[in-house]
Amino acid sequence: MIRLAEIRKNYPTRLGPVRVLDGVDLVVRPGERVGILGRNGAGKSTLIRLISGAERPTSGAIERGMSVSWPLAFGGAFQGSLTGLDNLRFIARIYGVDPAEHEQFVADFSELGIYLNEPVKSYSSGMRARLAFAISMVIEFDCFLIDEIIAVGDASFHQKCLLELFEKRHDRAKIIVSHQTRYIQDHCTRASVLSCGKLHHFDNLDEAFGFYSEAPPPALEAA
């Protein structure tokens, strides 16, 4: 179980702190698929970083009763001057996984061919996304955090991603943030809406979508 209680997060600006999250509560149980909707700038990525533990909240408590992934399909956790394989080795070492066991999977899945031995900075953005997704499937988590951009690569690669994530790992919890209702509709069992720093919970998806369609854009003003 993941439990967030009274999470507040401020960011400094020249005009004083901006409160991006203002008392967010959230509970995610094993196997649940939770969608979090929010407009651009509503604080979705901030929330997902806080849940992942990459960043700390200004106040409030986060309890992780299961292992939680880093924000998934995220391409930035790479060192551009390292090759794709070296990046795999690095991430595998961090999580205590033997990289050699997974090189074949990453090679097959990412379809990068000889480019796995080239520096990541020579990749196209689609190639990077494929590598990122392949590497994130190497480490097994109880809960996957998915930040928007799962629609990587072309249609057939997208299908492979869906298969890995939602069919082979159907028993894992997932928290998916997006500004599109469609993606949440397809993959989530319930949804919450992030608006004006608050996270609003709903019993069913339609109620969430209804609320979301009327949610105001983020104010982005200093307190």
Binding site: G96, E140, F141
Partner: protein
């Protein structure tokens, strides 16, 4: 498929230690690859570079018949002096601004700000140490240098200088996240501290008043201690390792407080 159990709840101290070692090791290997690559001599640069520095300085001082206030051979003098400078001076230089290019790594929860500093410090310390030891063996082998009189004392002094460099490194590395001034001021400071650090003279050769002032600097105690271990009876060393340890403790404390502070505010990219 079993899930990675590391992040469940609050791990025990021994488990945390294991994770930290793993992360620092991964960062260290990655650092070697990004810094030295797989081209030409690769990671050998780690200690070849400081060796070239030390050899160059040794050559210049020898050619100029540098005055250092003792009867020691210049090679011995330069090796002990310049190696210790490399040790404590390169560590902060590698830590200042170390975080910005590595912000994306913080997406992995187990990677902490301190780990990024530690990986760089260990690498820098290893490079300087290998260089110092290798050159010592080389000069001893060709007869330009007597073996150290007390190897343990040399090692102890070396570790104290390393501790000083590491605490200063983390302190300045963390501080440089808060203020760009640190990067700007560290370079002139390091440059100006070099002639004062005891690398190029023995404290004993200075007038009384100058000795008192120069011994306010912490690293000079480590240098003198290393030299006494090396040359023992042939020089009069001035040091107070308790004073240096106090400095190191203070620096370490401030460094950890600053690191903790920026860990709370840093935003992964």
């Amino acid at each position: 498929m079993p899930a990675v159990p590391d992040s469940i709840g609050q791990p025990s101290l021994s488990r945390s230690w294991k994770i930290q070692c793993r992360v620092v090791w991964a960062l260290l290997l990655r650092e070697i690859l990004t810094r030295y690559g797989r081209h030409n001599i690769g990671f050998l640069w780690l200690f070849v570079e400081p060796m070239l520095f030390t050899l160059g300085v040794t050559a210049i001082w020898t050619a100029l018949r540098s005055v250092h206030g003792s009867q020691l051979p210049i090679v011995a003098f330069a090796l002990t002096g310049y190696s210790t400078v490399l040790l404590w001076r390169n560590m902060p230089s590698r830590c200042v601004g170390a975080l910005q290019p590595n912000l994306s790594l913080l997406y992995h929860r187990n990677v902490r700000v301190l780990d990024i500093f530690m990986a760089r410090l260990l690498l820098e310390g290893a490079g300087a140490t290998i260089s110092f030891v290798a050159l010592s063996f080389f000069f001893i082998a060709i007869g330009w240098l007597e073996p150290p009189e007390d190897v343990l004392q040399v090692a102890g002094g070396w570790l104290m200088v390393a501790w000083f460099g590491m605490s200063l490194g983390v302190l300045l590395g963390a501080w440089s996240e808060e203020s760009e001034m640190v990067d700007k001021l560290w370079h002139p400071a390091a440059y100006l501290l070099f002639p004062l650090s005891g690398a190029a003279f023995l404290v004993d050769a200075l007038p009384q008043r100058a000795q008192e002032l120069i011994l306010l600097l912490p690293m000079i105690h480590g240098v003198e201690y290393v030299r006494e271990g090396y040359f023992g009876s042939r020089i009069v060393a001035h040091y107070d390792m308790g004073y240096m340890a106090l400095w190191n403790l203070g620096l370490t404390w401030v460094a950890l407080v600053l690191t903790r502070k920026i860990s709370r505010s840093v935003v992964p990219q």
